[in-house]
């Protein structure tokens, strides 16, 4: 039996990597290479001609053009950032609220869960476009509401425009929360009941329980939901930035090099947006135990103790070595 000679861990190593082979090939060919290639092209001027691609290095001209030459691109990009910074909290707060309600014993839970997930199934660019065109996604009555109107008039142009798009596509924003509601709902079910009982015993109100027990326990799931929301909104078909990038691909005056540069700028902006939200509400290791001063001190003490133990062990080891020598 030749099989017996190979150790179990080696076999597992081989089998494990064998399972990953298709994905690894795909990753190299369809993700890693294209990303590098886009980066390289962003420093070139690339035009599709009858004979093939005509490439010519131009340095950082594409990037300079995107920020300084192009009139619309920085504006679109800024709009996108503004919109997403407004939309993500709306989606997350809404998802948490609905999940909290649906986690209670309420009649018709199943129906509401089905209803809130429905948009995930039907949401697609052209359909949303049609709905927004016809004003179906707007907060109803907002266009005639005098209060909203006067607020919009008062705000500077960019902020007012942002608010207007938010109102016009408000239902769409909510439609992005289907998956998040279900994920948060299952995270809520995982929280230990005794924790609430202990909190009530100590005289905490429901409101305090939400802030001190529920929210810290949900934290990691909320972080996942934030990332999910950012990525789905950013890669959605109607997003103006990505339609501009695709449109520029086939304009001979701009070429693939320019759209590559725009794609890279967009990627970096997307990462920055994620980073911004992670700074605001990122994962934290001790989240579940609360971030009270006592807990922090406890943790510090434990760490110090461990360090001391390690030091002692090392010392012992060194001494024993000396004896052996």
């Amino acid at each position: 039996m030749s099989k017996g000679r190979i150790s179990r861990s080696t076999r597992n190593n081989i089998r494990g990597w064998l399972c990953e082979v298709p994905w690894l090939i795909g990753f190299a060919v369809f993700t890693l290479y294209p990303i590098a290639s886009t980066l390289k092209m962003s420093f070139d001027s690339v035009v599709i001609s009858a004979t093939g691609l005509v490439t010519e290095p131009v340095g950082i001209d594409n990037y300079r053009k995107a920020f300084l030459g192009d009139v619309t691109f920085p504006k679109i990009l800024l709009n996108y950032v503004g919109e997403i910074v407004l939309q993500v909290p709306i989606v997350i707060v809404f998802a948490i609220a609905v999940a909290l309600i649906l986690s209670k014993e309420i009649r018709g839970r199943g129906i509401f869960r089905t209803l809130f997930f429905l948009p995930v199934i039907i949401i697609s660019g052209p359909i949303i476009d049609k709905f927004i065109d016809m004003g179906m996604m707007a907060i109803q009555g907002a266009d005639t509401n005098t209060v909203i109107k006067s607020v919009l008039d008062m705000l500077p142009e960019t902020a007012g425009g942002l608010l207007k798009t938010l109102i016009d596509s408000f239902v769409m924003t909510l439609w992005f929360s289907g998956v998040q509601i279900l994920l948060l709902l299952s995270a809520l079910q995982k929280i230990d009941k005794p924790m609430y009982e202990a909190a009530y015993m100590d005289g905490a109100s429901g409101w305090e329980c939400f802030w001190k027990v529920t929210l810290p326990n949900l934290r990691s799931m909320i972080v996942i939901c934030i990332i999910y929301t950012i990525v789905t909104i950013s890669t959605f078909d109607t997003n103006e930035v990505i339609t501009t990038i695709q449109g520029n691909m086939f304009q001979t005056s701009l070429g693939l090099g320019y759209s590559s540069a725009q794609a890279w700028i967009y990627f970096v902006v997307l990462l920055l947006v994620i980073g911004f939200f992670m700074l605001l509400y990122g994962p934290r290791k001790e989240a579940i135990y609360g971030n009270t001063k006592a807990a922090k001190l406890e943790l510090k003490r434990a760490r110090r103790l461990k360090k001391a133990q390690d030091r002692n062990l090392k010392k012992l080891y060194r001494e024993s070595k000396r004896y052996r020598d």
């Binding site: 429905l118 052209p126 109803q140 299952s186």
Partner: protein, 309 residues
Amino acid sequence: MSKAKRKSGIKFRPDRHSVVRIGTKIALYVFLCITGFVFLYPLLKMISMSFMTSDDLVNPLVSWVPYGFEVSNFTRAMEVLGYGSTLVTTIYVSVLPALLQTLVCALTGYGIARYKFRGKNILFGLILATFIIPSQITMIPQFLMYRNLGILYSLKAYLLPAVFGQGMKSAIFVLIFVLFFQQMPVSLTEAAEIDGANQIVIFTKIAVPVAKPGFLISFLLSVVWYWNETYLGSLYFGANIKTLPMKLENFVETFNKMISASEAGTGVTANEAVQMAGTFLIMLPLLLLYFCAQRQFIEGIEKTGITGE
């Protein structure tokens, strides 16, 4: 004695807490119903509008229920969309890549969930990290690659990445499979190994049945996402393959072209009613799918959420 009296007193007096509880419950129902209506509003409006005549559309008295049910909206929209053949194309374009993607992601997830190998955690992190890579940054070289391979403007432009686990949102599917395969008890696979089952038998006979809901949710979500994708589709397929959502994009132009050819001067225009009928028709297959499989959808996602984060 007084204790007993107090106890019974509490029973009969509607105390403050229960009033508050009922009050909050009513408030919650109101909130749910309002948000539910807001969620459904575009769909309800779409359905109501799709039956309206052109007179009903401009009539301020008609807001929800039209006076005359105009079914011709649907026949016109069907004609414009080429509904039958486009539907078949759309099913083809969404089911095939979804199938391949599900299988490959299952294998990838299985490898991570079951075997301990070097660099596993790094690899898993990498797979998850690909989720945040927008397709815009990879599409230009991919476009050129497919052009060189001669598979641009054909379904293969979807199939090829799917076979190698780089299909649409494949990171999510790998994650789902990892979570589902991790539920597989180790003792079961060990017992099978001792009984002489090889790895392929263990995969097909033990792992696949355990992760059946995982397969289902991945396949369903994958179909839905491929179905609704128009951005990459229009780039890779050009005018060769048009799915239903892609046809909706230039619905009005197609409508005008067709009508001006056949019924010029009859005053038929691509009004909102016809457009909504078209939108409704495009949504219909997905709605049907959802109502048949809504339990699988919801339970699949919830299980994913419960088993891990």
